[in-house]
């Protein structure tokens, strides 16, 4: 547990001091939102609003990819990744610390993006803020669990920026399916549908357990 907290602390402190990851993620996701706004005809029509959940999650996923890639490339500086791998604990705790910090940093970017998204697409997110935050959190846990695992795999490959999306995007289909449907249901009816949330919960649990178990081998050279 102390290793989990140590890694979480270290990631958040280094990010707070440099702010390079969150800045890049925010700029990217806000750019996606603005481009969608101008590319879709008619501004905040009903059709546009129907596509809103998909657009929001596209912005989230691309922002997450950027952050996940950076998360481990920072560990290559001074071979710090080896320093972490030397810890005499089950490396699942290392995975959990990295996944938690990735989720929190992504969450910060998602919060700001959602605010801008609501304004630009004239979607009243305030009324559904709490359940929406729950859906976003569940989706982010799914993205960051398997994302952290594959970011650790990709970081030692020659084309890591390309490798991570190639490995990760197919595995994100169930997460995005659940997240987009749950968000769409919320925007339409204001109520949380059980089925997509169930899909998110099962996917999150599966990805967390599998990633915990195989992370030990991923850190090996």
């Amino acid at each position: 547990m102390s290793v989990f907290l140590a890694i979480l602390w270290k990631d958040l402190v280094t990010e707070w001091r440099s702010r390079d990851r969150i800045t890049a993620m925010l700029l990217f996701s806000l750019l996606v939102v603005v481009i969608f706004h101008f590319s879709l005809p008619g501004g905040a029509t009903r059709d546009t609003q129907a596509t809103a959940p998909g657009l929001l999650w596209i912005a989230y996923v691309f922002s997450a990819l950027l952050g996940l890639n950076r998360s481990f490339s920072l560990e290559l500086e001074n071979d710090a990744l080896s320093g972490i791998a030397l810890s005499p604990v089950d490396r699942g705790w290392i995975f959990l610390g990295k996944a938690a910090s990735n989720t929190l940093i992504l969450g910060a970017a998602q919060g700001v993006t959602a605010l801008v998204f609501g304004l630009v697409f004239e979607v009243d997110l305030a009324a559904i803020a709490l359940p929406l935050a729950g859906v976003v959190a569940l989706g982010s846990v799914g993205i960051c669990s398997v994302g952290t695992l594959f970011a650790a795999v990709a970081v030692r490959t020659r084309f890591r920026e390309v490798m991570l999306p190639l490995l990760l995007l197919p595995l994100l289909v169930p997460v995005l399916l659940g997240a987009v449907r749950a968000t769409a249901g919320l925007l339409e009816t204001g109520a949380l549908a059980f089925e997509p949330v169930q899909l998110l919960l099962v996917t999150d649990a599966t990805y967390l357990i599998v990633s915990w178990l195989v992370f030990d081998f991923v850190l090996d050279e």
Partner: protein, 236 residues
Amino acid sequence: MSEPALRAVGLGKRFGRSVALAGLDLELPQGTSLAVLGPNGAGKSTLLRLIAGLARPTSGSLSVAGTPAHRPAARALVGFIGHASLLYSNLTARENLLFAARLQQVGEASLRVEQLLETSGLARVADLPIAGFSRGMAQRLSIARGLVHDPPLLLLDEPFTGLDPRAAAGLAARLASLREAGRTLVLVTHDPKRAAELADRAIVLAAGRVVFERQGIATGAADLERAVLAAGDAAT
């Protein structure tokens, strides 16, 4: 009788088609120091990373004090000082050590960190980000990091690289004192003089095999230098 600090039997490591280590046998009693020399690509760093549990052997076995090297319990016995510092440049010296202490599950981490900052001569700069540190200061901090959990086995991968003569002499003195304190040292170096000065035993690797071995204080720098040159010639 206590387990040897290190035992490798038929140790092999491949990276794809490339053979880094080919059936290495080695036994190192506790409290002794071993220098590992050889030309580039001989398998020296790979051997060290296998002992540290950072990589798994492709064949053979490797144990640290009787525990397989890739197990967490073995990693607790090992301090690793690489030619990279393993430090985070936007953390301070104190934060870097505190983080390492927490990773190594050190009890009373803050106290231990203060001790190490004092003995490393870094107490005055403890709260500065290490991005502004000289190579010598970073190396002292890196050594403190490797010692944070007081490991009985210390692995050093070319620790003298990039140090000026004064810093190198300081590091040599520090390693000598660790050796006198009964720590087992495995030192990878290109410098036969340092090897002769710091080790009671030396091996020269070439293409993943031991091509020269010398035990005891008779290990001379000239012998080692000749063996390393011969190994380099054989490799090319």
